[in-house]
């Protein structure tokens, strides 16, 4: 992976509010063309990070580089190539959807046909002449995505784009993200507090918790963490665990069961044989697959609630 393939890079990005550190030394790396899932419970610091990426707020320390250039130095040039939707949608309520897009179009200086195009993309063409204050939250959110797409961005930053959408709407946004990635090679940062939102579409994920990046890798790697575990029901469970450990098995005793990880079929058979030879009764053997959600919760802490 060469340097030029990295389109967004932060180093030690930090933001404090008085004594509270909302974003704490975050090193975020996004590569060209990928869908990057930015995950974390509410209040973890996703929006604060994104605001810094867009130059909406200052960082307390650390740097942001986009397209290899410092955001501070080349802000305008960088923002020309970035489209964004941050948190709740932005709009002028007294104007129509079409007029809202026209305002942005005049500033961006792009062709009027872009408006028709993005309206179609988010399926708002039929309500384009309605005032935005009459839009439902879902429609406002879609207008927000249209606004983000208007300047044909190379990087699309979407902060919780499915907030307030019904399940159908959520699916639509996910499909749109995948289309943009596949057909136009747009690099996309999409944040969410729900793993299920990101799981299906992201190539790589960054998980942030209490302002700290606690995981950043390929989605595959996160999935591998959910490798199945073997659960054995035996009698005299603690004694059996000690017996197996003593002869070199890596097992643990949790509750009424012996747990083991990453056993092949042969290893499983051998372990059962060993137990039987040791005069333990094996009641049942089960393979337990830990759902991805559990892993995510394990990383971010259940108490923080989703």
């Amino acid at each position: 992976m060469s340097e030029t393939d990295i389109v967004v890079q932060t180093k030690g990005l930090t933001r404090c509010y008085q004594k509270f550190t909302a974003v704490d030394h975050v090193d975020l790396t996004i590569r060209r063309g990928e869908i990057y899932g930015f995950l974390g419970p509410n209040g973890a610091g996703k929006t604060t990070t994104i605001r810094m990426l867009l130059g909406l707020i200052r960082s307390t320390s650390g740097q942001v580089k986009i397209f290899g250039e410092s955001l501070e130095v080349k802000k305008k040039e960088i923002l020309r190539r970035v489209g964004s939707l941050v948190e709740s949608p932005s709009y002028y309520g007294h104007l129509t959807g079409q007029e809202n897009l026209e305002i942005a179009r005049r500033i961006l200086g792009v062709s009027p046909s872009n408006i028709e195009h993005v309206l179609e993309r988010v399926r708002l063409t039929n309500v384009a002449d309605k005032k935005v204050k009459q839009y439902s939250l879902g429609m406002k959110q879609r207008l927000g995505i249209a606004l983000a797409l208007l300047g044909n961005p190379e990087i699309l930053i979407l902060d919780e784009p499915t907030n307030g959408l019904d399940p159908g709407g959520m699916q639509e946004v996910r499909s749109l993200i995948q289309e943009l990635s596949k057909e136009q090679g747009v690099t996309i940062l999409v944040s969410s507090h729900l793993l299920s939102e990101i799981d299906q579409i992201a190539h790589r994920v960054g998980i942030i918790r209490r302002g700290k990046m606690i995981f950043q890798d390929r989605m595959e790697t996160l999935r591998e963490m959910s490798r199945p575990r073997m659960r054995l029901g035996v009698n005299r469970v603690e004694e059996a665990t000690r017996y197996l450990t003593k002869i070199g098995w890596s097992v643990s005793c949790e509750g009424e069961h012996i747990w083991s990880e990453g056993l092949t079929n042969q290893e499983t058979a051998t372990m059962v044989e060993t137990l039987v030879k040791g005069k333990f009764s094996v009641y049942r053997i089960e393979e337990v697959k830990q759902p991805l959600e559990e892993i995510f919760l394990g990383l971010t802490g259940k108490e923080e609630g989703l």
């Binding site: 605001r51 130059g55 909406l56 707020i57 964004s84 709009y91 309520g93 007029e99 942005a104």
Partner: protein, 243 residues
Amino acid sequence: MILRLLLAEGLKIKRTWMVILPMLGALGILAVLIVDYRLRSEYILGKYPDTVTGFLLEAQIILPITILIGGSLLASLAGSMEHQGNAWKYVLALPVSRWQVYLAKFLILFFLMLLFSGGATVSLACLWKGLGLTGEVPWKTLAMGVTWPVIAALPVLAIQLTLSLRMNNQSVPIIVGVLGALFAPAFANWLPWSYVFQVVPVDYAMSRRFENDPSLWLPIALGEGLIFFIVGMALFQRQEVHS
């Protein structure tokens, strides 16, 4: 770029009170002066050295206060537009310089004030005709009579726009604008709100507490307006966008 921003700004004010307000202000002035001349025509005509002077000085009962309060309202409407739909985080993530965004807002505000000047000039001319005052309509003097106070209001416009851009809640800027207009002129003639009262283009030292002298106060207002404008621009440049 600034032209593009102005075009965008122009579209934003569509269907808002901002377009109607300057015209209402001009009509309001006409209405008040009609009542004034109806009730005290004899007294007014006897009080002043000539008709034009009397005309402009009588307009003082309503013109400066309309400019100050109307200007504060316009600044609030222009400055709060993005707060309402949480649009700052979108607008300021577009490839624009913040100082240009601020400049465009200020220019639109000033343009609407000039629209008011135009309307008020026509109002006064109509009144002149309607009253059957002697001589030609003194267009130039009337235009100066309403435009100079608008220029003298530049420092106040800059203060108000800056406050309205900074604050989510518009009640503070509005209160500052109204209190400033009502009380500052009585307090001291060097306060930004006072200049509007002190630039009547007539050769007539106004009695009482006002010190009428356009050649003194107009340059002061322009200079101070520029300073407040730059300060407001610098503050906007540094403003963080949280909502």
